[in-house]
Symmetry: C3
Subunit: 140 residues, 3 copies
């Protein structure tokens, strides 16, 4: 019979960059003892993202950061919302360009990630923040 | 026991901009009487988006609009699909750059949004449109 | 009573471009015999995307490809991760700018797509690849 389980993960960031929390999410799946199901993630913030990306060569994530820094430059004079710092509005734009939700099926007790996929919180602010990911698990 | 409920919300837009429908979605959750669960939204259009963004300073949304207007300019000579107007193809590109799905867990009868998160339909066309969001609720 | 069903679709791509798999997904829904429910898709790769876009005028998809090719040019000297080819890092960036998950409610046995919506795998690599989409179906 289908059951659900609601949890959250708190991630302390040390400023802009990628934070892999694949293992923490898999632990929640293990604790719920679901063999088959669905994990749905929601990030409760508007200046950070959830991203599934390559977990092999760290240069991929450096290049992602380089690209987004060029596409949405800090301190761009286009922006009027500047009271929270010159990285704040770019952080909102980066979040709009990416995702705050992820949905990953579970098979044989494991998240069905591809061989090279890791799950990241992408912090867009330059200062450290505490970020919360709500995790809904459905399964049996 | 887990139940599901299928609904939709119709949103009349007055042209390009952000339309907050957080309260309408929460009402659907209230009517379904789910304490714990998951709300999944699907927008049935290809020239508008669903976006979770800051609901405090309206300047944030103005800046998002300014950024996307500069990134994907109306009337860009790059585009060949121009028969529906010079804002049509940019609207498709903006939709591709954002999302048409959202998934938000429910806890204690409420959408688990962060303190500053609102749920918006982002209309990308300059003319008014009628937009439909399909809402699937799962819970107990 | 709610049930779930886990499946996958394998899609052979012939290089960069859009591959419509709406009908294959609808077939999985038909086989599961769900009248009402939710289909959740996860793509197990980091250099291709899942996209819902207009399925009427093919020029829309050509223009999407033109726009992304200009926004994230192959061989951009910004990128350091170049060992897998000059289209590899742009493929990761395109994936970050779009989505690898989709969630589509089911009503009266059908995916609740809009009139002009098709479901595409968007291959970002120039060489052919074999791509897997994991499909979780929930319903009754």
């Amino acid at each position: 019979m289908l059951r659900q389980s609601l949890n959250h993960l708190d991630i302390a960031t040390r400023g802009r960059g990628f934070y892999d929390f694949t293992d923490s999410l898999q632990e929640l799946v293990n604790e719920a003892k679901f063999q088959t199901g669905l994990a749905t993630l929601h990030l409760q913030h508007t200046s950070a993202s959830l991203l599934i990306q390559e977990n092999a060569d760290p240069e991929v994530r450096h290049d992602l950061e380089r690209f987004f820094s060029r596409l949405v430059p800090d301190g761009d004079p286009l922006f009027q919302h500047t009271s929270e710092g010159e990285d704040d509005m770019p952080a909102h734009v980066r979040t709009a360009l990416t995702c705050v939700n992820l949905s990953i099926p579970i098979a044989q007790g494991n998240l069905t990630l591809g061989t090279w996929q890791g799950i990241y919180l992408w912090e867009h602010r330059t200062e450290p923040h505490r970020r919360r990911v709500v995790v809904h698990l459905l399964g049996e």
